[in-house]
Symmetry: C2
Subunit: 670 residues, 2 copies
């Protein structure tokens, strides 16, 4: 038989198959990567069939209302396969995903960034690319769904979170933390497709792993299935089963990377480079795809639009339910993250009270006291800790833990899993309806770096509670004593790092973090007790300016002391000593948040820093401080790693003392 | 029966049981923590029985020669249980671990730091505390053993690596990466004891995990066993079996945390706080332990010394084998990490050649060329990449990969596991006989932070090859573009961060990294081509001074341009433009390694930086640069995250161009 096939453009929609729909993804992926001369065609071509069945038969989204709260969430954890998502978005009709955008793949300003970027195009639920982040973020989304469901019921909240993960995602450590948490909490609405193509960048996965992934996921409490990822019916049956399982699901999809490219499929060569003009042409021949580059036959587009219509119909039904539900109005407020302003009055009263009482507590304890007020005032906050609850002091009165299969609580025992905690908090924030906060020791921000960075890149309101913030933690020693961490976090764009010096500043920093809706905040807190430093109550949130004159002097001071957190006390004592013993009036500037200070008008900044010689005091690395020290300024802090000893002994040993400050001041004032 | 028990001090050694030996650990652990009023008694008391059987019957160490190369390695991954290790060291007779040291637990300057610190006391094979690091580091040690064994044979290299890991270690993501790698490579000499006590800090582990750990380790290729961790015979049988398995082993030891403390055992209350005087007394009663605090009956000490004698005898036999083995001398050189100095002549010749040819390549490519020379000259180097071999360019001609069960190669496909790669490199370095290097993208140093920090804290010669070092990587976009990473790494104490600008500096940086035997080095390399910048060959390694005047001017320059890596080219072009169009001679300073520059005499530093106004240029965050900019200096770099586009478009978009430098220079020179 050598009959001429009909030109695709005149195929009737009725006879368009899911194979045709999938091949449209393949063609667009090849074309996009080829035109950009950059990108990853192998994964979209390999997973086109799975994605087609998911989006065509199951997924509940309405592309014309991409933020519909009860939509299913789709996470492309294998973010390098971004053309899969862009092609899907074009086919299913997201209005911003035009042919022109596909043609501008990976170009400056395009919605079609190299990896899917949340906020760059409609319907991108989270930014992916760093492997394993997607699956761990999805765990947070799936958890958010269950907690919201427990509050608002099936009528308002009833959706799934679908993830496509690659071998890389499953090799990364974060995947272990994430699936352990998901399996434990029985997050049955989480369905993970593993693109099981046996290929990673270096070559066959057998170069580096012998893991039995099915057994591993089963050990974590997942329902597991394995299918031929190119068998449309098998894909459909697997998804149907996963949707009714009472566990989270892994569907291992045996696929051929680059499927459709006759000479390269099944090889790592399709992973991260264009196929080349010749191979693209050969693939079009094999796929019997005769449309021009970036062109999809109308009949196929029509079939795809049916999938979108299914979602739109679901949304219409949901709108009716919201309108009639007693919880409808509360739900809408929650999604808008509305906080009653009376909370801020309560926090102001809290500051007033403790300033008057000169309350001396560790700032981690102050944070717990503030959280008690916040958590009582709003149920938007959802707390947790990476197994340091009684050290981070993140659990306040009346908060019940979230348990396997039981989601009425609002406190998460994240386990010893800092990275998954941070990623899950991203997922909770991205899902909507929550302001997540979670605690660990500041030193172990190291373990969560990958996800903290994504909080910042995506501008999500996630609040990190990082206690035990310096050598002040004492005996646990240098592995637990942060040195470089403040620099690392301050260097991260779009992240506010707060280091309050006392109970008043702690309340101010929390207040600011709650108000900062499009940015993560990281609140750094002491283990040890700190005195109240604020000399008088101020109704204004002084920490909101980032830095301010804590103690002025009546005449121009010959010296300015800059400090943060627990070292503000040292600066104040040194100022007292300078005044009493040497008649030198020193200005003390507290700098709880450098990022906010940098946003102040230059007149304010100059007025605060003044023109006198400066001494910076922080029990951490110097890097970054020179910005404020000015030429000839002196830094008193850490020059290397810490040590194991009681806190007071360490401050003495490392010379971070009022005496050292006085000595430096006398040198500068001389 | 109410007979009076004999005072322990007159027990005959012959009737001392392993129970007595283990109770000595329990007593010392209680005493040490109680006296320090800080620490973790629960784990040492829970694992005392397992540790006793391991050290009494099996472990091959000679406490009087703690660095004996063929000793077994013991890693306390659950490092908070440090008193277990200190007690063991005292009992088995490490000369530095005296009663006085036990009494000084967690005090300033003591060998008995809060967590075991490599280098603080003899026989501490690695620093632990950050959970999961120990088990992953041990994978590197076990791999080092097999690779050395393949080279030098059973007579010289034939030992085990034993790990005690807790629930925290196994929850951390790094454990997944580590066991996947170990299982894949069939590292049968690795034996992991899991202190399976069902307790973590927040309470029962059932708060946060439902993982079937045995099934999980089995899925990774481990032999798994479960035993009663208080049954001495069962412990012995399990270790015997594990030692002959052809797979790495997990022995799940069901234990009672704090065993022996009658009112607190089995509770998280024993984890991280002293038991209190009353409970210590009660425990002594239950254990029938009548010796004074910190005192161990002589008979029990004698039994412990038998274990040490067993190791000493093994060492004597080994010495004989070394003396008679033809490979003995080579083995000793390897352990001393001796590099033939002719390598450095070759590298000097390489620099000379490429300076003359003005070779223009990406510095990652230059690094590959340099590595070709290094790897040919010495077999101390053992390379690898986290699945980015052909991007990091870490595999040189003739290097064979290490494969499961076959260890003759010297290249490791670490898989998509940056954290385990870094920790395994620590293990390779700590084991001795290797200079490990491994690659990933600089942005993904985030994923390896926890282990990079330990490289620095332990002062191990581990070389990180971090390519794709800026927005210059282009289309992959902001998730892959490092911004804050240079600051994060530069802020880390005892880590040299190199960012060479061309092929000559790349060779210099590698040379310096090879010579720096007590410090990790991190070499940051470009994806994109960079021209040769060095105007004339210099026999001296100029990068070894950290920063130097790359281009001087004949008269005092009104402006100094400071730059690193790919931005040195921009500085040079800007200098040309300033000279040609404006008659301004600008000095160009290349700063490949800030840490080395800081170590130069102040006269050198001042001479290099000069007194003219300065412009710093680096496609990264500003944080840290103010140290060199001086008051009024200008920084040209990144102010936020990157974007997805071709590299040249990004440099334009973010204004990191010669034109921008010229404009800034004109402002400063005005």
């Amino acid at each position: 038989m050598n009959t001429q096939l009909q030109p695709q453009s005149i195929i009737e929609p009725a006879i368009v198959t899911e194979q045709d729909m999938a091949d449209a993804i393949r063609a667009l992926a090849m074309d996009g990567v080829q035109k950009a001369n950059s990108g990853h065609p192998g994964m979209p071509m390999g997973m086109a069939d799975v994605a087609t069945v998911l989006f065509n038969r199951f997924i509940k989204i309405d592309p014309s209302h991409p933020d519909w709260p009860d939509r299913d969430r789709f996470v492309l954890s294998a973010g390098h396969g971004s053309m899969l998502q862009y092609a899907l978005h074009y086919l299913i009709g997201y209005e911003d995903m035009t042919v022109e955008e596909l043609q501008r793949f990976r170009q400056l300003g395009a919605r079609t960034a190299g990896h899917p970027e949340h906020g760059h195009a409609l319907g991108i639920e989270t930014t992916t690319g760093p492997l394993g982040q997607g699956i761990a973020t999805a765990v947070g989304m799936a958890l958010a769904e269950r907690v919201s469901n427990a509050r608002y019921g099936d009528g308002l909240v009833d959706h799934h979170t679908y993830v496509i993960a690659g071998d890389g995602c499953l090799q990364e450590g974060i995947s272990h933390e994430a699936i352990d948490l998901a399996g434990h909490l029985k997050l049955s609405r989480l369905i993970v497709f593993w693109d099981n193509n046996s290929i990673s960048i270096d070559g066959p996965t057998s170069l580096s792993t012998s893991m039995n992934q099915l057994a591993r996921f089963q050990a974590a409490g997942f329902d597991v299935q394995e299918i031929d990822g190119h068998d449309f019916d098998a894909i459909g049956r697997a998804i149907s089963r996963a949707r009714v399982s009472n566990k989270p699901s892994l569907i291992s999809c045996r696929t051929i990377i680059g499927k459709g490219a006759p000479n390269l499929q099944g090889s790592e060569k399709t992973h991260g480079a264009p196929l080349g003009e010749a191979e693209v042409a050969a693939a079009r021949h094999v796929l019997k795809w005769r449309a021009a580059p970036f062109e999809v036959p109308e009949a196929i587009l029509e079939r795809w639009s049916d999938a979108a219509a299914r979602g739109a119909a679901e949304r219409a039904k949901w709108l009716n339910r919201v309108a009639s539900a007693p919880e409808g109005a509360a739900f809408v407020r929650t999604i808008g993250r509305e906080i009653d302003t009376s909370l801020f009055d309560e926090l102001a009263e809290f500051r007033r009270t403790h300033q008057a009482k000169a309350t001396k507590v560790a700032t981690r304890k102050a944070s717990e006291m503030v959280l008690g007020i916040i958590n009582a005032a709003t149920d938007l906050t959802i707390g947790g800790s990476a197994d340091l609850t009684h050290s981070n002091l993140t659990l306040t009165a009346g908060m019940e833990p979230i348990k396997p299969g039981s989601y009425a609580g609002r406190y998460i025992h994240y386990g010893i899993r800092e990275h998954a905690m941070a990623a899950a908090m991203n997922g909770l924030a991205l899902h909507g309806g929550f302001i997540p906060y979670g605690g660990t020791f500041l030193a172990f921000s190291d373990y969560a770096r990958g996800a903290i960075r994504l909080s910042a890149l995506m501008g999500q309101q996630v609040i990190y509670v990082m206690t035990h913030d310096s050598i002040g933690l004492g005996e646990d020693g240098p592995t637990h004593q942060p040195i470089e961490h403040l620099a690392m976090l301050r260097a991260t764009p779009n992240l506010n790092v707060y280091r309050p010096c006392d109970i008043v500043e702690t309340a101010e920093c929390w207040e600011q973090a709650l108000k900062d809706r499009n940015r993560p905040s990281l609140i750094v807190l002491s283990r040890q007790n700190l005195p109240m430093c604020r000399p008088a109550n101020s109704e204004e949130n002084r920490s909101a300016r980032g830095a301010y004159i804590l103690r002025a002097t009546s005449q121009p001071s010959p010296i300015t002391l800059l400090a943060t957190g627990s070292e503000v006390e040292i600066a104040c004592v040194a100022a007292d000593m300078l005044s009493a013993a040497h008649g030198i009036g020193a200005r003390v500037v507290s700098m709880p948040c450098w990022e906010l200070f940098e946003q102040q008008p230059s007149e304010y900044r100059e007025a605060v820093l003044g023109t006198a010689p400066r001494i910076g005091i922080e029990a951490a690395a110097r890097l970054g401080w020179d910005r404020y020290l000015g030429d000839g300024g002196i830094f008193i802090g850490m020059e290397g790693f810490g040590a194991s000893a009681p806190a007071a002994a360490l401050y003495d040993h490392f010379g971070i003392t009022p005496g050292a400050v006085v000595e430096a001041a006398l040198r500068l004032a001389a």
